[in-house]
């Protein structure tokens, strides 16, 4: 044991009976001023809506990341080119910049890495780098859009994913009621207040914390009471092949959660109340009362933010 562990044990000993310590509010409001490159973001926005990036020009990023449906897909699984079905419920693009990793299983660290994924996924946009570059370079629209940033040579995949990244960086839903409450601008009503209290007391906060109310750790679906495991799901186990990674996913953000039904990786919860109950049962080991569900629901609704400026 090194000095740190000794120190930690000492600390634990000292704190003895107060085995749970209190810290400042574990949730941070989203910034109201966000930084991104407006020129690139403008290109990114065009790309985001443009089916040019799909093999048969049928779908675009927007097809599965509906910016009016909480930035996610309202279908249980997304449909790719030629009607191919995805294998997981699409996560939201809103505030994705604040996730510590991307994808359900966290296989990408940066947004740029992430953007590369669906473009190349054969069941999603089904493109390859060469095709993407050829299409974009051939497009007068993108030649014009890229002109301010490409001074010589052709537009390459990195520039394209970079532009998408800058657009996604602009997709921040600031000024939710809860953020404004945290900033002391508004008060929560009783139900919302109670919901937030329960959120902390029940232990939801243990995983759903930070600026994104989640999105900063991995957790197993069914920590306390095991959740249905389906072999071959793109969970963390699919990457690490570690037994304890079965049914482990990135803890999703709860921002705009009210807008992004259905819920969970398998879209098993059709509405937020169901989702609250499922989560409480499997991950907290609680069977919570209807009253608690209502107040948690009320609290979660305060996490819905404003539409990002870039979408106006």
């Amino acid at each position: 044991m090194n000095i740190h562990s000794i120190k930690s044990i000492l600390m634990l000993g000292l704190l003895g009976y107060a085995h749970i310590l209190l810290a400042s509010e574990p949730i941070e409001p989203l910034p109201t001023e966000i930084d991104y490159d407006p020129v690139k973001a403008k290109i990114g926005k065009a790309l985001f809506f443009d089916p040019i990036l799909s093999h048969d020009r049928s779908i675009a990023c927007i097809s599965c990341h509906d910016l009016d449906a909480g930035g996610a897909d309202s279908r249980p699984v997304s449909l790719g080119v030629h009607g191919g079905k995805g294998n997981i419920q699409s996560p939201t693009v809103f505030n994705a910049r604040y996730n510590f990793k991307q994808f359900w299983n966290g296989r990408a660290v940066t947004l740029q890495e992430q953007a590369y994924g669906p473009i190349h996924n054969p069941t999603e946009l089904a493109m390859n780098t060469q095709e993407v570059e050829e299409r974009i370079n051939a497009s007068k629209k993108y030649q014009a859009l890229f002109a301010p940033i490409v001074h010589e040579g052709a537009i390459d995949i990195l520039m394209i994913t970079d532009a998408l990244t800058e657009f996604e960086k602009a997709l921040v839903t600031s000024n939710s009621k809860f953020d404004r409450y945290l900033r002391g601008e508004v008060l929560l009503d009783d139900s919302e207040e109670k919901g937030y209290q329960s959120f902390k007391a029940l232990g939801c906060i243990t995983c759903h914390n930070g600026i994104n109310v989640g999105g900063n750790s991995f957790q197993q679906m069914g920590t306390i009471i095991p959740y249905n495991y389906v072999e071959g799901y793109p969970d963390r186990y699919s990457l690490t092949k570690k037994e304890y990674h079965k049914n482990v996913f990135k803890v999703p953000t709860l921002r705009n959660i009210a807008l992004s039904a259905p819920y969970f990786h398998d879209a098993s919860a059709k509405n937020l109340r169901d989702a609250i109950k499922v989560m409480s049962y499997h991950n907290l080991g609680y069977i919570i009362s209807d009253e608690q569900v209502e107040s948690l629901n009320a609290f979660l609704n305060t996490l819905t933010g404003e539409k990002p400026e870039i979408l106006e």
Binding site: H4, I20, V109, G203, V248, G285
Partner: protein
Amino acid sequence: MRYRLKTVTALLVGIISLSMLVYYYHIEKDFRKNYKTISTHFNTLQKQQEKISYGVLQSSLFAYYNQDSIAKDRNRIIDGVNTLSQHPLLKEKKHYLPLKKAINQLEKEIKSYVELIEHYLMINAGIKNSMVFLSTHEVKSLEFFDPASESIRTLHDIIDSVMQAKRMLDGSYLKKISRLIKEIENDSYNKEQLDYVTKLLVHIRYLENKYPLYIETFSKIMDSPLRNDLQKTQQQFEFLAEDDLTYLNTLATSLFILILMAILAITILLYRLQKENIKLINVHNKLQFTLQHDALTGLFNRISYEQSVSQLKSPKVLLLNISRFKLINDFYGVDSGDQLLIKVSTLLRNNIQHEVGVCYRISGDEFAIVFEAQSSQSIEMIAHEISELLTNRKYKLTDVEQTISINMAISDTKPLLETADMALKQLKLRPVGNLIHYSKELDVKEKIRSNIEITQILHDALNENRVIPYYQPIIDLKTREIVKYEALVRLKLKDGKILNPIQFLPIAQQTPLYHEITRVMISKTISYFSDKPYRFSINFGMSDLEDDEIINTLRGHFTAYPEVAMRMDIELLESEKLTDLNKVKNFIHELKKMGCGISIDDFGSGYSNFTNLTELRLDSVKIDGSLIKEINHSDEHYKSVRAIMGLINEMEVESIAEFVQDEASAEKLSELGVTHAQGYYFGKPEEFIVDL
């Protein structure tokens, strides 16, 4: 070629050391940059690791813990180690290969460390939540159970053990709970009790299952070798960098030595250069000295003279030469001449202070003393002093002792040397004195000296009747009475100035005009004396007596004035070559018959032909003036005159001394038996004889 090689070598060394310097600067900069970057990476990794482990602690202790920063730090530590492993230094340099391996190892370690953290956070969440559940639900037990019941005690026991385990971070507290759980499970409950117990048991079992893992994970994190490995790897890096540093130091030392050597070389070269320079300056000075000084005497030379004089505002020169130096050279040899010159030079140099005047040897026996501040009078005084200094001594030459006489000229008219030289030539023409001042007048005379001019002047003078006789009295030394007059030729210039024969006669002698002058002199003199009672003499050159016209003129006059012939003497100058001696002899006999006296002029000047003289039956002999002039001062001259007088006495003829300037000379001459005399002392030549 050697110099080119040296230059090229120096240039090469310069380029090499400069390149080395640039190279050193470059790699030193690289080294610093790399060292700083890598060190920073290591420090950052360590800091992040510390932050993460602190975050782990916080997350285990705090009920609400914002995991954002620990999430970020996890990403950062992985990014950090990736960047570090990609550092070009690790690829470029072979000796960093072990470090590269170590860093790759670190990369793996960090990845598993991060996974460990993530796993820990997963378990921690459940543990924390279950703990919260148990602590919040424990109180509720009283709602369902009798506080004294066995079940509630067992439940409390279980919960207590869990709490202890958590507090003490010790899984052994949980050992007994599986038995207790069984007890609880075996108890019988009503529905509400069962419901409550089931809820609790879910969490208790979870804790029982997961807690050992939790402690294991936590301990693994706390005991992670990562921190040590990071330090070790950093030390390894520093150890390897030390090699680079050693190389750098070696390079710096060699550079330092090189530069030191270069400085040394430059110093040596400079010293040598300075030495060479001094040598060159010495050589230059020597050359300069040789250039400016006369090799023989050590006096300044003519070149130096020209340089100095050109820089002076109003220079004056005293030009000095040694009379008959050429004779000394010819007679005693060049060595003796040189000795004399050296002695004269030494005397001049030692006796003329530099501030007063500067001595130069101009050429041969010619010396110049240049003055600037002195007045003409003081220069004249100096000249006299020099004259005394140089002439009143005997110079001991190789075999003989020799006295010298000198001639001096003073001039302040440019060109100094030319004017002074001209004045010297004029001085030589003068019967007395050894100093002359240059003047414009001399200049005119000098011009006259030139043949063409004098010829022209003569021609004009003859045509315009300006060749005239002057008459100088000749006295009997015993009685001191005038016994006759000598007719001396003069040339009257247009402006009335009178020229002495020495100024035109030597030139005239080379032209046919000479005989014309003689004819004019004969006519005018005879005509002048025709009605006067005095005896008189006329000068003839031997060649005159060959000239038919002159012979005829004389005959004519003597026919016209037969009485005059009886009063006339002919002064023969023997200095010329005769072509027809018999003719001359015959004519002299003829003249003697007519009653003319015959005299020899300038006897003792070195041209007398004694054989001729005896045949001529002379009446008188005129002793050369140059001997008479110095008779008072020079023993030698006196002796010469005495010797000549012996000869004259034997010949039984009258003797005439010319150039007698004072009584003392007159008396000396008288003592020697000289019968007659003429000179300024007795009377200057005049155009007309004034009867007393």
